[in-house]
């Protein structure tokens, strides 16, 4: 799809604007988006991933300033670096790794929007993550065991059960 503004570059941003119940669809390229900053709610001129994110985060606290509860959310502070949730939602970036802990409540909806998911399933640091890795391995083995049982492969299932027991014992000892 070609950008509806310049008609030359490919459209990479697709969004819908609703004004007084009237729906308008936009398909534009980043270049034109930057030039026509007013097209995108919440951005003026400087268009970046952080301003988009900050837009998303503002939705979280859409009622900010109106109720006491909303302003407390904005005031939540990371005790390690001192950043508040309000600052985080403006900057679109965390101040330190502990922010994840202090702002945890507000993060699931954000991660869901950005990544479609809230939990990590990838690589785990070897040194710090031996337990996590073993636990994941156990989960995988359990799944395989269920499959084996469903397919009436009881010998395989028994082998898997023994492996699971062995790993569970290892974790318990650590």
């Amino acid at each position: 799809m070609v950008c509806q503004e310049c008609g030359a570059r490919p459209a990479t941003l697709h969004f819908t604007k609703i004004v007084n119940g009237e729906k308008t669809e936009f398909h534009i390229c980043e270049h034109c988006a930057r030039e026509k900053g007013e097209l995108i709610p919440g951005t003026s001129g400087g268009f970046s991933i952080h301003s988009l994110l900050s837009g998303l985060l503002d939705l979280e606290g859409a009622s900010k300033g109106k109720t006491a509860a909303a302003s407390t959310v904005q005031d939540v502070r990371c005790e390690e670096c001192g950043m508040t949730y309000g600052q985080f939602s403006k900057l679109g970036r965390f101040g330190c790794s502990s922010c994840y802990k202090y702002f945890d409540k507000g993060l699931d909806p954000l991660f869901k929007r950005v990544h479609g998911s809230t939990a990590h399933v990838g690589k785990v640091p070897r040194r710090a993550g031996v337990q996590i890795q073993v636990r994941r391995q156990i989960d995988e083995l359990k799944e395989n065991m269920q499959q084996a049982i469903a397919q009436e492969e009881f010998e395989t299932a028994a082998e898997l059960r023994d492996q699971i027991r062995k790993l569970e014992k290892e974790i318990a000892q650590e």
Partner: protein, 354 residues
């Protein structure tokens, strides 16, 4: 001032060999973002805190010269002039972000410039591996093995549920950004590119210009990368990108074939005309240079032209950038002078081939 062979030469050693599908895929890159626990992210860190991060991270590679990827040199950004920083960005060895806000920033570069480890960019550590052609899996293997070296020496900020904790919420989880730079002139000419790019967006990938976020796709070069870093494993991310890129390669090949079948004369004319202009023009702006170089690259790839070599074209893509031009011809060139010197450089480089 450190000895900077990295900014003297336009083409990194790693770019000299082709890699697979090199007629369409220019390069593959993997970047992983990591942070150390109990240190504020660079966004908030003061000079002293940034220095501390550098003191923790830089020696890890110093002491590990046996990484198998050659000797590394530590380049502190504060010690570089603006022009050298621009050249490092033009060569994709550092991000524009690190060049612009280099407070306490540094980069560890290996000899062939295939590994670039940024310190105090948006995250404490960004490990980047570059490969020529389509080798995104190889780039990931290398990046993860360097990650293991760091992980053995420092405590990463990692959470059982959220994964690797990064400064920006868009990188959390794997911290992995895998990207592939593709030359897609036939898809642009046949106006299929928009449809394909919007399809790409729908499968969790994004398309950007060659210098990353916010930059335009100059010379029909597009950078395709994963958008999602949380909830997918590294293998899934790499495989997803891999399979989409394979499909785009297929589409580009078909479009090239169709162009050659249906409008051979028109394409040949376009390629030859661009080659002629590159060889003889007296003034050339960057946009035109990128477009003409793209035409010539297409001509070489489909056999209309026998020369210049792809490696000369890769080199010219970098050498015609503003920073590199100024590095070569004098650091105070205005835009009009740059256009003149760009044309001169192109004439001299391409004029020697017949």
């Amino acid at each position: 001032m450190p000895n900077l062979r990295f900014t003297e030469q336009a083409l990194s050693e790693w770019m000299r060999s082709g890699g697979s599908h090199s007629e369409i895929v220019i390069s593959s890159r993997v970047r992983i973002a990591r942070n150390i626990v109990h240190h504020p992210f660079p966004l908030l860190a003061n000079e002293e805190q940034a220095e501390k991060v550098m003191d923790v991270l830089a020696p890890v590679i110093d002491e590990n010269q046996a990484t198998g990827y050659g000797t590394f040199q530590l380049v502190k950004l504060d010690e570089l002039g603006e022009l050298d920083k621009t050249v490092l960005v033009e060569k994709h060895l550092i991000s524009p972000n690190l060049a612009n806000d280099s407070r306490g920033g540094a980069v560890l570069l290996n000899e062939d410039e295939s590994v670039s480890i940024m310190i105090n960019e948006e995250d404490h550590l960004r490990i980047q591996c570059l490969f020529p052609g389509f080798q995104v899996k190889e780039a990931w293997d290398r990046a993860t093995s360097i990650d293991d070296i760091f992980e053995a020496a420092v405590d990463y900020a990692f959470d059982d549920r959220r994964g690797y904790l990064t400064s920006c919420p868009t990188n959390v989880g794997t911290g992995l950004r895998a990207s592939v730079m593709m030359h897609l002139p036939a898809l642009v000419m046949t106006q299929q590119i928009g449809r394909i790019l919007s399809a790409v967006n729908q499968v969790g990938l994004t398309v950007r210009g060659i210098y990353g976020e916010g930059s335009e796709a100059a010379g029909n070069i597009f950078q395709i990368s994963n958008q999602i870093t949380l909830g997918q494993s590294e293998t899934e991310i790499i495989e997803n990108l891999h399979s989409v890129v394979i499909q785009i390669i297929e589409h580009e090949r078909n479009a090239r074939q169709r162009l050659l079948n249906d409008s051979a004369l028109r394409i040949t004319d376009r390629v030859m005309r661009s080659y002629g202009i590159l060889k003889y023009a007296a003034v050339m702006d960057l946009k035109e240079a990128s477009q003409r170089l793209s035409d010539v690259r297409l001509g070489v790839d489909v056999g209309i032209l026998q020369e210049p070599s792809i490696s000369v074209l890769n080199e010219l893509n970098v050498k015609t950038q503003p920073g590199f031009l100024q590095k070569t011809f004098g650091d105070k060139l205005n835009a009009a002078e740059r256009d003149m010197y760009r044309a001169k450089l192109l004439r001299e480089t391409l004029g020697t081939t017949h």
